[in-house]
């Protein structure tokens, strides 16, 4: 399935919606959006991943990049990750660096 990604800003928080398959070919798009979110000085980064079906090592590396780029003061939420993606994140220990949640409320 083709990959798409959208960035919105809600209450100063960056919302990214990832759809499809994130691999070496599409990871640069993901990275661009992270950079844009960082430039917009987002206070939180929220990644909606319930429609993301596959994440390769390249995608995981962008997650690591996101953490470094946004800085330690910005919390990062991964919302609704599918089991296979979730598994990969857990096995490589990245789940400790992010908030893994089922849903996210932007008004809170």
């Amino acid at each position: 399935m083709a990959f798409s990604i959208e960035l919105e800003t809600i209450n100063g928080q960056a919302k990214l919606t990832l759809i499809g398959e994130l691999d070496g070919g599409t990871a640069p798009l993901f990275k661009e959006k992270i950079e844009a979110a960082a430039e917009a000085n987002a206070t939180k980064l929220v990644l909606f991943m319930d429609q993301l079906e596959y994440m390769s090592s390249a995608g995981l590396r962008v997650l690591v990049f996101a953490k470094q780029k946004m800085g330690t003061g910005v919390e990062i939420f991964l919302v609704g990750t599918q089991e296979m993606v979730n598994d990969t994140i857990e096995q490589t220990g990245l789940h400790q660096s992010f908030h893994m949640v089922d849903s996210y409320d932007f008004t809170a």
Binding site: D23, G24, A27, S56, S57, V64, T88, Q91
Partner: protein, 707 residues
């Protein structure tokens, strides 16, 4: 300003290039491209071969221009590569002359010895495409793991309790309760960290995790039809790459991250990680073995060859790595530095390490440069270096391995002495006194501390503890080698019946013998090592060489913890007791005198009479007392500890030495008592009724503590 080194100077087959950096060897991501660097002294030309991930044929082959060869190193930057999906290898041209030792063959694609990721065996046991022209493929790695302030733990060696384990065997069995797709992997171990904490060990030693091929010499057992594989993994394909098949994420090429995460999480709970490394030979085997890497790159550099061009075989497996060739030495050093710096590994156990001390013709060197280099290397300065101080060529160096003040040794003599002692052999009391003290007979003269001695009764190679007390001889039928494989000198005793039995008396005796072995191991000076599964009574049905079984024979059956709770509790308490008492973990050898003037010698020897040990050749009784005032050379204070070992077939009264004034003897362990009286949680030892004497059962060990 933009760096000028990102500009290509050459083109070839549509790819832009420039001359690369010779160091570091391997494939390194640089601005705009990838730097490929490979060593070969006897080749005449080299071609870089690039594949898309898993593609049967390369998408481009780029010969190194002559000007890109510096000395004996081919180096080249290739620009604009999709390094996420890249696989690479080399073709080498040069002489092909068996007697001269040259095996160059440009029809073969060769694996870079410095590849950090190797694909081709991504999921354990999945049959590869045997028609693939390039089975084990180099891939690029990315050094972006988030270590979160972790660093190697730097625990003193003498404070370690090592647990030797097999990555796959630990959680592969469904009884592990680990999520199905994590079983048998690094992620599986991660899930079991709480178990390791409960057991109380503080160091894991992982059997080989460098990329190996489980299909090497795979075959069907001629009679049982069982599929036999290279399960243990003592046959390295590549020294820099973690085995992909040991990672749940191996199919995504994320094995580096998964292993790093395991190390990080183990470190968080105070558990060090030691790797069992195999530098004595490679998976290319003898003259009939496959050409994977070294043989085609520079056969004569990497292997010890006879004058006729055949492989010397000091490893017993076909070839011998030419470890004291300066190039190979460099590779070993680079490798260990990489695992230390990049993976935060705490130490290494070197398989058949005596080979590392042989010269290119196989003769033992007085001052082996490789061993010296490793001992003094700045990056390895805090790493534990442990030698299996013998090899298959007959070089046995326990007690004489060149140590440079750094090297510790697997003490095979400890194993043999304890085994003989607990089965009641006569004539080993003197030896035992040495083994209990950290083998000063072997190490003290050379100024080597007690922690030089890695003490063990069982290891992966040989009987499990449960089998040691259930079999007189090995039962290796399942290996398909007519029982010719595996050790014959087991010093084991079946306690009356060979193998499984339901005779309660024999089962009781076996349980006691196991308790004796573990109790003695955990109160000996030196560094104790336990074999995975011994703490729950793992049996291998008398097979003492299970290297080829990917089956429940090797997989840990976790139901055993429930079934053998008393035994598990015994082992756990013995470990905790050791860690609670620094007097058991001295950093200097005992002086057998009261050098502090506190009224007791640091260690004193006793028999059925206090202060009178029976050193006669038919003695089977030995007791000793450790003075807590002398713990760690008098730098810390500990309790007095008294250990009595009655390996006689009769119960005997032991007269007890008086404990220090104001204290009384309390019982920590009595292997002759039935659970739960056999052992008590450290700190909850009940007082002994009579403080002057004690009846100790036949084949039993008693450990008392004065408080």
């Amino acid at each position: 300003m933009e760096r000028i080194d990102v500009h290509p100077t050459h083109t070839s087959n549509g790819y832009q290039l420039r001359c690369g950096q010779p160091f570091p060897f391997g494939a390194t991501i640089v601005p705009g491209g990838v730097n490929f660097s490979i060593y070969s002294s006897h080749s005449t030309a080299c071609t870089l071969v690039l594949f898309e991930k898993r593609a049967p044929q390369p998408f481009v082959e780029i010969p190194f221009p002559e000007s890109f060869r510096i000395g004996n190193v081919y180096c080249m930057v290739v620009f604009d590569l999709d390094f996420e999906n890249l696989e690479y290898g080399y073709r080498m041209e040069g002489p092909n002359n068996f007697q001269q030792g040259h095996w160059f063959d440009p029809s073969k694609v060769l694996l870079d010895p410095y590849a950090k990721v190797v694909s081709g065996r991504d999921v354990w046991g999945t049959q590869p495409n045997w028609d693939d022209i390039y089975q084990h493929r180099g891939r690029l790695s990315f050094d972006d793991f988030d270590w979160e302030n972790d660093s190697p733990l730097d625990v003193p060696l003498e404070d370690m309790v090592i647990y030797e384990m097999h990555v796959r065997g630990f959680t592969k069995d469904p009884s592990s309760g680990v999520k199905e797709n994590h079983r048998g992997t690094f992620a599986g171990i991660l899930a079991k960290i709480p178990y390791l904490q409960e057991l109380g060990i503080n160091t894991v030693e992982l059997m080989p995790v460098f990329e190996f091929d489980e299909f090497e010499h795979s075959r069907y057992h001629p009679e049982t039809g069982e599929f036999l594989v290279n399960y243990w993994g003592y046959s390295t394909v590549n020294f820099f790459a973690p085995k992909a098949g040991y990672a749940a994420t191996g199919k995504f090429g994320m094995q580096i991250d998964e292993l790093k995460n395991l190390v990080k999480e183990l470190h968080k709970v105070g558990i060090s990680v030691i790797l069992d490394v195999v530098f004595n030979h490679t998976a290319e085997g003898n003259e009939r073995g496959p050409t994977i890497s070294f043989r085609g790159l520079d056969n004569k550099t990497y292997y010890m060859l006879t004058p006729e061009g055949y492989y010397f075989n000091f490893s017993g497996t076909g070839n011998t790595l030419n470890c004291n060739n300066p190039i190979v030495r460099g590779m070993v050093l680079d490798c260990l530095r990489y695992w230390t710096a990049e993976f935060h590994i705490d130490g290494f156990r070197f398989d058949l390490a005596s080979i590392l001390g042989r010269d290119p013709w196989g003769y033992p060197l007085a001052n082996p440069p490789l061993l010296e280099t490793l001992a003094f290397d700045p990056i390895l300065a805090r790493s534990k270096l442990i030698a299996e101080a013998w090899d298959a060529g007959g070089l046995y160096q326990v007690g004489s391995f060149p140590s440079y003040g750094r090297w510790a040794e697997w003490n095979g003599k400890y194993r043999d002495s304890v085994r003989k002692f607990i089965k009641g052999d006569a004539g080993v009391i003197g030896e035992m006194a040495q083994r209990l003290q950290g083998s000063p007979d072997l190490y003290r003269g050379a100024g080597r501390p007690p922690s030089t001695s890695i003490n063990f009764v069982t290891a992966h190679d040989g009987f499990t503890l449960a089998d040691l007390v259930a079999y007189n001889g090995k039962h290796n039928y399942a290996n398909g080698e007519n029982g010719n494989d595996g050790a014959n000198d087991n010093y084991s005793w079946n306690c009356g019946v060979e193998g499984a039995t339901d005779n309660p008396d024999i089962l009781k005796l076996r349980a006691r013998q196991m308790r004796n072995a573990i109790a003695i191991l955990l109160v000996s000076q030196g560094v104790p090592m336990l074999l995975m599964g011994d703490e729950m009574g793992k049996t291998q049905g008398g097979n003492n060489n299970t290297y080829c079984h990917d089956s429940p024979l090797n997989w840990l059956n976790w139901h055993l913890v429930e079934q053998n709770q008393d035994w598990f509790r015994f082992v756990k308490h013995c470990i905790a007791f050791r860690l609670a008492h620094p007097v058991l973990r001295n950093s200097e050898h005992f002086q057998n005198c009261d050098y502090l003037g506190v009224g007791f010698p640091d260690i004193s020897w006793h028999g059925v009479k206090a202060w009178h040990a029976d050193w006669s050749s038919d003695g089977r009784v030995l007791a000793f007392m450790l003075c807590g005032q002398h713990a760690k050379g008098g730098r810390v204070k500990d309790n007095q500890i008294y250990v009595a070992m009655n390996m006689h077939y009769e119960s005997l009264w032991f007269e007890l030495p008086a404990p220090p004034v104001g204290t009384a003897w309390h019982v920590f362990a009595n292997t002759g008592a039935q659970p739960p009286e056999d052992i008590h949680a450290p700190g909850q030892e009940p007082p002994l009724e009579s403080q002057s004497s004690l009846l100790i059962g036949d084949r039993s060990v008693v450990i008392l503590i004065a408080k």
